[in-house]
């Protein structure tokens, strides 16, 4: 059943290529770390976006920088979903896979990441390895995949690359871009532009050898493979940008007019600070890498206290360390924006993988009553705008605003409309004008709890900020009643903010059999699943929440119009199928817990912690089973 390299190539070659028109495909490129699969994938995604296809790319990242070569857990690469229309999520299993070795391939296959019968383009140099162990393992893997029904095409990539360059190990990835460009009818001019851009710093010689590799890959595919796809691209009618969510957070920080970001390295949040570090000083900003997460938050709070609202960017374990300072921000009413790019938890958990497990700790994690605002971007575009919004809210309500992004948004790439700069995004210069005599640091408004803050340098504003319970004039509370009163004002602020929120929209009909409620990065997958199910007449709709604390008015009324309400989330919840789990002890997913508590509606949930973005196909299947 299995074919050798020459047989495969010949077999494919003898047939003339037939062009298949498709609506979308998921392509995956995987290798050992450092072999360039990520670069190839990103380049392929960017080229496709530039041609006007809808695109979503996901990084496949192993936990270590250089895990052992040829290991099933070591896959590094990129998954690119390309569509004829707008793409809002990573999609389902892969249709076509390029793999630089058999072992990373087996790992991904075992994780259920490939469609049945998917095409696999496999580096076949392992057949000719000197070590018999590698050869036999390779042949076994190859045969197993063929037996499972995958269409495995073996390509001796290194041998082909050696025909154009001296060191085939470097540059094999661009050879692969050439193959894919042929298979997917990519515009070679755009690919060449991307190559020139990518290797600009390395000089003409490197650019040329990569262009040669591109051509070699393209020509090899043209001569040897019969597969050809065309994914219609509607073209780009308006200027767009394509980036990942962390870059969007970095640009949002610049656009917000904040000028201090304090951080400590933590996966998967750090890359936001990488890009910010590159450009922040050009606009007069500072990225401060502190000695630890706590110091980063303290530094940001100090900067906020003495000037414009500042930002700190972290992930779950970092947010845990900052907890006490989050309390101080709330207690002393110092504005602060905190971005938590969520990863799998608890503890060190799954550092490179997605989870939405920090919602409850973001809302409730601070000891004592600490009302704060928690919001979640649902798209990469949202990552940009949410920082601008959060800065404004933080300053207006003298509040802590937590933005819950996640690893899926952080590393996924998506195109969105190029933002048009508006001066109103920017924080105004620090007000140093004298305050009226007798100004109180916390002149709480009786109805809303809101007050204006004094900034060092302001005449008549002298006060000592304290995390101790304090009166409106900032004096340490020595009488009972002060804490009750000040707690009330801090809580009222949240209510005042809540009054400004719009009721979320429902996708699908406003009533029906099932309402799916989601938050954060799962929006695209949920809505796609809902639309697929609706095409078959199922009465399912969805609603996505941007503000999780406080929640907008009208949510109860929306939920009441459906026979069943459930959340879909990437966090852990108990399964009633487990023998000792029942309604008395079942632990619900984060959002389901909140909705049940607030609205007294029997909200169900479907959630898991596989560390993967939710697949629309899996959600669709779940919807169908619930509506049977």
């Amino acid at each position: 059943m299995h074919s050798t390299l020459s047989q495969t190539a010949k077999a494919e070659k003898s047939m003339s290529a037939t062009i298949q028109k498709i609506d979308e495909h998921v392509v995956e490129i995987i290798s050992d770390s450092g072999e360039g699969a990520q670069t190839a994938g990103q380049m392929f995604g960017t080229v496709s976006a530039k041609m006007g296809n809808g695109v979503w790319t996901v990084e496949i990242i192993p936990a270590e920088i250089e895990p052992p070569a040829r290991s099933t857990a070591g896959a590094s690469g990129n998954r690119i979903r390309i569509g004829a229309e707008n793409i809002t999520n990573a999609g389902d299993e892969a249709d076509l896979v390029v793999s630089f070795n058999d072992q990373v391939l087996l790992g991904r296959e075992a994780a259920g990441e490939f469609k049945p019968g998917a095409t696999i383009l496999l580096e076949s140099k392992w057949r000719e390895e000197r070590e018999p162990e590698i050869v036999s393992v390779y042949i076994e893997a190859h045969d197993r995949l063929v037996a499972k029904g995958y269409r495995v095409v073996e390509i001796n990539m290194e041998e082909e690359c050696r025909k154009v360059v001296d060191n085939p190990q470097r540059g094999k990835n661009i050879f692969v871009v050439g193959i894919l460009s042929c298979l997917y009818s990519r515009d070679l001019d755009i690919v060449r532009q991307e190559i020139s851009k990518k290797f600009k710093k390395k000089g003409e010689k490197v650019i040329q050898s990569n262009l040669d590799l591109l051509d070699a890959g393209y020509q090899w595919a043209e001569a040897n493979l019969e597969i050809r796809y065309v994914i219609p691209a509607p073209g780009v009618s308006q200027a767009q940008v394509v980036m990942n969510g962390n870059t969007a957070v970095a640009l949002g920080t610049v656009a917000s007019g904040m000028d201090v970001c304090a951080m400590y390295p933590i996966t998967p949040a750090t890359s936001a600070s990488h890009y910010l570090s590159e450009i922040f000083e050009d606009v007069g900003g500072v990225v401060h890498q502190a000695e630890d997460e706590i110091a980063a938050c303290a530094f940001a709070l100090g900067a906020s206290y003495a000037g414009k609202c500042a930002i700190t960017i972290t992930s779950g374990p970092g947010m845990a360390l900052k907890t006490e300072l989050m309390g101080l921000s709330v207690m002393a009413e110092i504005p602060l924006v905190m971005v938590n790019v969520q990863r799998g938890g608890p503890s060190t958990g799954l550092p490179t993988k997605v989870e939405q497990g920090d919602l409850l700790s973001a809302i409730f994690g601070v000891p004592g009553d600490a009302p704060k605002i928690v919001m979640a971007p649902a798209t990469i575009e949202d990552c940009f705008y949410s920082v601008i919004t959060a800065r404004k809210i933080a300053e207006t309500f003298r509040s802590l605003v937590v933005i819950l992004s996640d690893a899926n948004l952080a590393t996924g790439q998506q195109a969105f409309l190029r933002p048009e700069f508006r001066e109103e995004w920017l924080a105004p210069p620090i007000d140093q004008s004298p305050l009226p005599v007798g100004h109180k640091p916390y002149a709480w408004d009786e109805k809303t709890g809101m007050s204006s803050r004094a900034i060092p340098g302001q005449l008549n504003g002298l006060y000592t900020l304290t995390g101790l319970a304090h009166t409106g004039s900032g004096a340490v509370a020595y009488e009972s009643g002060v804490n009750q009163e000040s707690s009330r004002y801090r809580s009222l602020k949240l209510a005042a903010f809540q009054k400004t929120l719009k009721t979320p929209e429902v996708v699908g009909d406003p009533e029906g059999d099932l309402l799916i409620v989601g938050w954060g990065s799962t929006k695209g997958a949920i809505e796609e699943a809902v639309m697929r199910a609706r095409k078959d007449g199922l009465k399912v709709s969805s609603m996505h929440l941007t503000f999780l604390q406080p929640m907008a008015s009208g949510i109860r009324e929306i939920m009441q119009k459906f026979k069943k309400v459930m959340t879909v989330e990437i966090n852990y919840s108990d399964d009633l199928a487990d023998e000792i789990i029942d309604e008395d002890n079942r632990r619900y997913a984060n959002l389901a817990f909140l909705l049940r508590a607030r609205y007294l509606i029997d909200v169900d949930c479907w959630s898991n912690v596989h560390g993967q973005p939710m697949k629309p196909g899996a959600i669709e299947k779940m919807i169908r089973s619930r509506l049977k």
């Binding site: 530039k50 041609m51 006007g52 296809n53 009818s185 001019d189 219609p232 691209a233 073209g235 780009v236 009618s237 200027a239 767009q240 394509v242 980036m243 640009l251 610049v254 656009a255 000028d259 201090v260 450009i279 050009d282 606009v283 007069g284 500072v286 502190a290 000695e291 706590i294 110091a295 303290a298 530094f299 940001a300 100090g302 900067a303 906020s304 206290y305 003495a306 414009k308 006490e324 300072l325 101080l328 190029r418 700069f421 001066e423 920017l426 210069p429 620090i430 007000d431 140093q432 060092p456 340098g457 302001q458 504003g461 002298l462 006060y463 000592t464 900020l465 304290t466 101790l468 340490v476």
Partner: protein
């Protein structure tokens, strides 16, 4: 001074500030607490340097000493246990126009805040850091601190403190970029004031350890020094502080010391039989982080727009490039 509305920035030379302007709320420290003397010396320093109260920020953590900002007539930030230094750095980073002071106890600085202490020394931002060292946790009532002497009975060491006390001077002098280290005792007001004034005028982070009496929990801690002034070794350095005649008569032990010599400073700091006071080390040439991070440009909306557009170009997809798209 970045991003301030320039038209309303405080004019510094408009009036003379009297001593009582620097008095905040009335002190609630115990009678006889050494913190009162430190407060008085600091207020005098502010008056003599004519610091604008609105342009002065006292930052502290938690503990008895950390109440300090409340008792100053300036802006203050009484934050979290151990976290005064990173807060002070944040205050300073975009506001070089503010004078920043930090007050911490030995628990605050040398125990829960140790990481920040080490890194703040290395970062060397311009500020005065006062370590109020009374060798004990006071506010939480009599627990051993990192500087509590070995053998000392406290609430948490009922059979005597097993560990030898940490020496904050040698630790500080061991950190890369250290630029100013001094030690004083609060019961010599003349010396305390003069050292604080030198610290204030230092370009960089000035670390001043102040041995401080806690009459409530450590009433006998400094008895040997108080009864035998010869145990206090005054650093005699050409650029050091000069004692007044009255003080000089009491404190006769002098050590010739070159405060620009880091190794000499480390040696003096390690003295066990005597307590060195004065400026142990001073180096005005160490780069400060506030200077290193000083933005080259002021934030302007036009600039932000330009930089954002440059980024959008970098990640951009334009209608013209899609002419050959698709089928």
């Amino acid at each position: 001074m970045f991003g301030l509305k320039s038209e309303s920035v405080l004019k510094l030379d408009q009036e003379y500030h009297e001593l009582d302007e620097y008095q905040g709320k009335e002190s609630r420290w115990c009678p006889g607490c050494g913190d009162n003397g430190i407060l008085a010396a600091t207020q005098r320093l502010c008056r003599d340097e004519q610091l604008a109260p609105e342009k002065t920020v006292f930052v502290s953590g938690i503990g008895c000493a950390a109440r300090f900002p409340h008792y100053m007539g300036t802006y203050g930030f009484h934050g979290l246990h151990g976290r005064a230094l990173p807060v002070a750095q944040g205050v300073k980073i975009r506001r070089p126009d503010l004078d920043v002071f930090v007050n911490m106890g030995d628990g605050d600085c040398c125990s829960i805040g140790t990481a920040h202490w080490i890194h703040a020394i290395r970062t060397n931002m311009k500020m005065v850091v006062m370590l109020h060292d009374n060798n004990i946790y006071g506010l939480t009532k009599n627990q051993a601190s990192p500087t509590t002497p070995q053998g000392r009975i406290t609430s948490t060491t009922p059979y005597g403190n097993l560990l030898k006390a940490m020496n904050p001077l040698t630790v500080t002098l061991g950190v890369t970029n250290v630029s100013f280290v001094a030690q004083v005792v609060e019961w010599i007001p003349d010396l305390l004031y003069k050292v604080l004034r030198e610290a204030y005028n230092h370009k960089g982070l000035a670390f001043v350890r102040i041995l401080q009496r806690c009459p409530h929990f450590m009433p006998t801690a400094w008895d040997q020094l108080l009864s035998n002034p010869d145990k206090i070794a005054v650093m005699d350095s050409p650029d050091g502080v000069q004692l007044s005649d009255a003080t000089a008569k009491i404190y006769k032990t002098r050590v010739a010391h070159d405060s620009s010599d880091l190794n000499a400073a480390r040696q003096v700091a390690s003295l066990e039989d005597e307590v060195p006071v004065g400026i142990l080390y001073r180096n005005e040439m160490v780069p400060t982080y506030d200077e290193l991070r000083r933005p080259q440009r002021l934030p302007e909306p036009e600039l932000t727009e330009e930089i954002l557009n440059r980024s959008f170009d970098r990640f951009g997809i334009f209608p013209s490039t899609s002419s050959k798209a698709g089928d």
